[in-house]
């Protein structure tokens, strides 16, 4: 039922404690939002789940994060395999400066998954993100020629072609206009059927619109974690109430 369990997790950046003793259990096939003011550590926590924080100098961690029952901070873990299982979509769309086809098939190609029909898989994932009709005749064109919304869809397709368990979204709509935002939100809602989705957002309405559970963070601490409607209608903590009613943040 829970495929992601965070236990007593702390993260330090040199001497600065960016995440303080986080405990969180995230349900599978569900959308969980993380909200909080900038600098509260929500992105840092998200980026700990696929260990992409490893690429930043000066970061070290304490505690566990269990993905499908395995502690991913165990030294013996295969980090590349973890990242194939935990996809990520970034704040700004970041397609590679390659063709659309090469972008989508990237994950399968580096894996040498010969058993999979890559062409079919590319088509499937482009269909899943509702991009197939727009790009089916220009798969060999450079992906950077697409609009920002299409680029973000492509990045989502690039992640789901790996059939991950969890997909992390780091403010996926912050560089998009309202209409594109709405359409990407609709897409994320459809992903819930097959994937566990965790989304970081600075946009409280977005969290309220699409998530089932919401975690509110402040200064590196998890203040409250509950059903989204509870958080937005009847928060337990004073700080949560202050934040969602707009007194700070």
């Amino acid at each position: 039922m829970f495929n992601l369990i965070i236990k007593n997790f702390s993260l330090y950046y040199y001497n600065f404690c960016a995440l303080k003793n986080i405990n969180l259990k995230i349900k599978e096939k569900n959308i969980t939002a993380m909200i909080g003011p900038s600098g509260c550590g929500k992105s840092t926590l998200l980026r700990s789940i696929n260990r992409i924080n490893d690429t930043i100098k000066g970061v070290f961690t304490k505690g566990n994060i269990n993905v499908l029952g395995k502690n991913i901070y165990n030294t013996k873990i295969d980090v590349e395999a973890l990242r194939r299982n935990v996809g990520m979509v970034f704040q700004r769309p970041n397609p590679f400066p390659l063709s659309i086809y090469e972008n989508i098939s990237f994950g399968l190609n580096i894996n040498n998954k010969n058993s999979i029909n890559i062409k079919m898989a590319v088509k499937e994932s482009l269909k899943d993100v509702l991009l197939w009709d727009d790009v089916k005749n220009k798969l060999n064109r450079n992906a950077l020629n697409l609009t920002l919304e299409q680029q973000q869809r492509l990045c989502i397709a690039r992640a789901i072609i790996m059939k991950p368990n969890i997909i992390l979204f780091d403010e996926p709509c912050s560089s998009l206009d309202p209409i594109a935002t709405q359409r990407i939100e609709e897409l994320i809602l459809t992903l819930k059927k097959e994937y566990t989705v965790i989304i970081v957002t600075h946009n409280m309405q977005q969290a309220a619109r699409i998530s089932c559970d919401t975690a509110f963070m402040l200064q590196g601490k998890l203040i409250e974690f509950n059903k989204t409607e509870k958080i937005f209608t009847n928060p337990m903590e004073k700080e949560t109430e202050n934040y969602i009613t707009g007194r700070f943040g």
Binding site: E80, R83, R84, G87, L98, F106, I110, A159
Partner: protein
């Protein structure tokens, strides 16, 4: 404005070479000039065939590219992606220093150290060969190639690498499949600049290649390049003579060759950018 000015300069240089060599090309015949196998400008009647010179230039350039391009790209990748920060700064400094060595000094070192070494290792009658020229030129072009490729690799945005890592790519896969491809236009520009330097280089080549105007059958025989011919013979000619004008014609051909190389590179760049 400045762009226009540089175009005007190129046209003026071309025009100057063309005017100086026009009467020669008309009298001797451009086809005979390019395909002639013998360069005997001082004999009677003189023979102005520059095929051996063209082949000499191309052979040396080709050899130098084979040596310099892989080493340069790997060095640039090492400096930009693998070396720790302080080593990186040190290596960059060293490479920029290397670029500043005058070509005649490199030619000198080549003549004193490389030429005898090649003679001994390959058991040749002379170490003044096309191969020596290629090594010396590779050495001279590498600083340019490394330094510009390194800039191109270094300016690949972090978000591309992050995207690849997030999809489960290893460091090496990220470098090979994303970084190298994203930096390719810059790397090709670096290679083209390097080739420009190789094909136009005169002094160092003249000192180590032996300057025999034969059509080379292997890379281990003396050759003569187009540039070395112009440099070596310009001082001995009578101004306005057939020989004098033929040297300008060589310059014109050299100019056309580099122009074509740049044009190909440009078309290639456009293709990958699309």
């Amino acid at each position: 404005m400045c762009g226009m000015l540089s175009v005007i300069f190129v046209i003026l240089i071309f025009g100057f070479l063309f005017v100086e060599s026009f009467t020669f090309l008309k009298n001797f015949g451009i086809f005979r000039f390019i395909t002639g196998k013998h360069w005997f400008p001082a004999s009677n009647p003189p023979s102005f065939g520059i095929l051996p010179l063209i082949i000499g230039s191309i052979l040396i350039t080709f050899g130098a590219c084979i040596i310099a391009i892989p080493i340069s790209i790997m060095s640039a990748l090492f400096i930009s992606e693998i070396a720790p920060e302080n080593l990186r700064d040190f290596l960059k400094f060293l490479i920029e220093l290397m670029a500043a060595i005058p070509s005649v000094i490199i030619g000198f070192i080549g003549m004193i150290i490389l030429v005898p070494f090649i003679k001994k290792t390959f058991n040749l009658s002379t170490g003044l060969t096309a191969f020596s020229g290629s090594i010396v030129l590779a050495f001279m072009s590498m600083p340019t190639m490394i330094s510009i490729s390194e800039d191109a690799i270094h300016s690949v945005p972090w978000k591309y690498k992050e995207g690849a890592i997030a999809l489960g790519a290893t460091k090496w896969q990220t470098i090979r499949k994303v970084v190298l491809k994203a930096a390719m236009p810059g790397i090709i520009a670096a290679i083209m600049l390097g080739i420009g330097r190789i094909i136009g280089e005169t002094m160092a080549v003249m000192m180590v290649t032996g300057n025999a105007s034969n059509i080379p059958k292997t890379i281990f025989v003396p050759v003569r390049t187009m540039t070395a011919t112009i440099a070596a013979e310009m001082g001995e000619t009578v101004r306005g003579s057939m020989h004098y004008r033929s040297l300008f014609a060589i310059g014109l051909i050299l100019f056309l060759i580099t122009f074509i190389i740049n044009l190909i590179a440009d078309l290639f760049l456009r293709k990958i950018r699309r």
